[in-house]
């Protein structure tokens, strides 16, 4: 196994994670008050500035509301969190959450084709070189995990071409959620990342400025794995 950079987690990072996990798991329920900063610092055995740093970051993520002079209260993260929270929701306790995975797949299948169409309209041949390069890398490499990475780069170029900041930011978040699960999904995504012809067709349609063709090619590319995974998830949910 490849050597990994040692995880060097700072104290505030650690506190941040603990609080987020407690909120997401419902241990701290919405409306409830968090212990005071001093109390938390004492309980966790760290300094108050460390707790503060963590708490402010949790607040920025929308999970708690901190008001001077009053206790910090938990908010409903489903209502106030952003896509930043997705990685934690997708892989709580290291296990893939089926409902969240379904949701990610739905979003991917909706947005992918749209972004491809926009890229065809707005970038066309300008990103042709980058796209072909990615497809070639995809073909040459035969490791499933590496192929997924190449596919991500491929899509990254398309998103660039779409020239739409909202989709770009969405893609960033989805990628951040996807990457930690990448190895776990290698097997299930193998079929998708092996469809070189479809990748090429998509690239060609974009280069040709053919928006509708790009949309359809993207659907052809994404739909099979999406549906297969959705079925798998459904079976998984029925079992439990």
């Amino acid at each position: 196994m490849a050597l990994q950079p040692v995880a060097r987690r700072s104290v505030p990072d650690e506190v941040f994670d603990q609080i987020i996990d407690d909120v997401v798991s419902g241990e701290f329920a919405p409306g409830e008050s968090l212990p005071s900063e001093r109390k938390l610092a004492e309980v966790l055995g760290v300094s108050r500035p460390a707790v503060r740093e963590a708490l402010q970051r949790v607040a920025q993520a929308g999970l708690v509301e901190v008001r001077q002079g009053d206790a910090t209260t938990v908010r409903d993260f489903r209502r106030h969190a952003s896509l930043d929270l997705l990685p934690r929701l997708l892989l709580p306790r290291g296990e893939l959450d089926p409902g969240v995975a379904r949701s990610v797949l739905e979003a991917r299948l909706l947005i992918g084709p749209k972004v491809a169409a926009l890229a065809a309209e707005r970038a066309g041949a300008r990103i042709g070189g980058a796209l072909r390069e990615s497809v070639t890398a995809l073909e040459v490499d035969d490791d499933p995990v590496a192929r997924q990475r190449h596919a991500l780069v491929f899509w990254d170029h398309i998103v660039d071409g779409a020239d739409s900041i909202v989709f770009r930011l969405m893609f960033n978040s989805l990628r951040a959620s996807y990457e930690p699960a990448l190895a776990a999904l290698a097997h299930m995504m193998e079929a998708e990342v092996g469809q070189f012809e479809v990748y090429r067709a998509l690239a060609d349609a974009i280069v040709a400025g053919n928006a509708e063709g790009a949309r359809r090619a993207a659907e052809d590319l994404l739909a099979p794995a999406t549906n297969a995974l959705l079925d798998a998830i459904k079976r998984l949910e029925e079992m439990s």
Copy 2:
């Protein structure tokens, strides 16, 4: 004018905003190094813990990378930021950025109908009461700004019904971007939020579990204002 809660900005908040603005505006270019925490504290006339708090939050937003022992460097926010950044991109210096606005509208027009269809499939009559209530509120109130708020609540229920956490989180971010611009958009959105019949048709389709009907009703609802605004933006961009 209605009384507003006084904005009480903390020191770290202030520092946070300044750094974000400098990064987004390109004053701190990607790859560049930020001044050290001590230097920043001195220049800004605040304590180092305050700077740290701000810096860590900026790092969490993906705009900078901080490594112990080395300088903090600026990252390409287009590549690493999440939707959290959208409000700042949409309204830099208080003015609406046309390109970003276009992007938001595109995303809205894509996601709205999909979410409506999902809500029809998954919630159906369960959210009927809430939807009808929102439409009624929309009809009764004749202030354009208030109507936009009612429309947001209406969509909030639909997103709930769609039962898809990714769309939920996306909606949260889009709403957060939209709300500050709400008053500025009141005039342009007046036509949309006045279409009570279409809101009712959408609600009915969802209650009936008619996914395709809901999708179409949502498109009917969103498309006119979207296209009108996109045209306005295009003219704006051509002028400048």
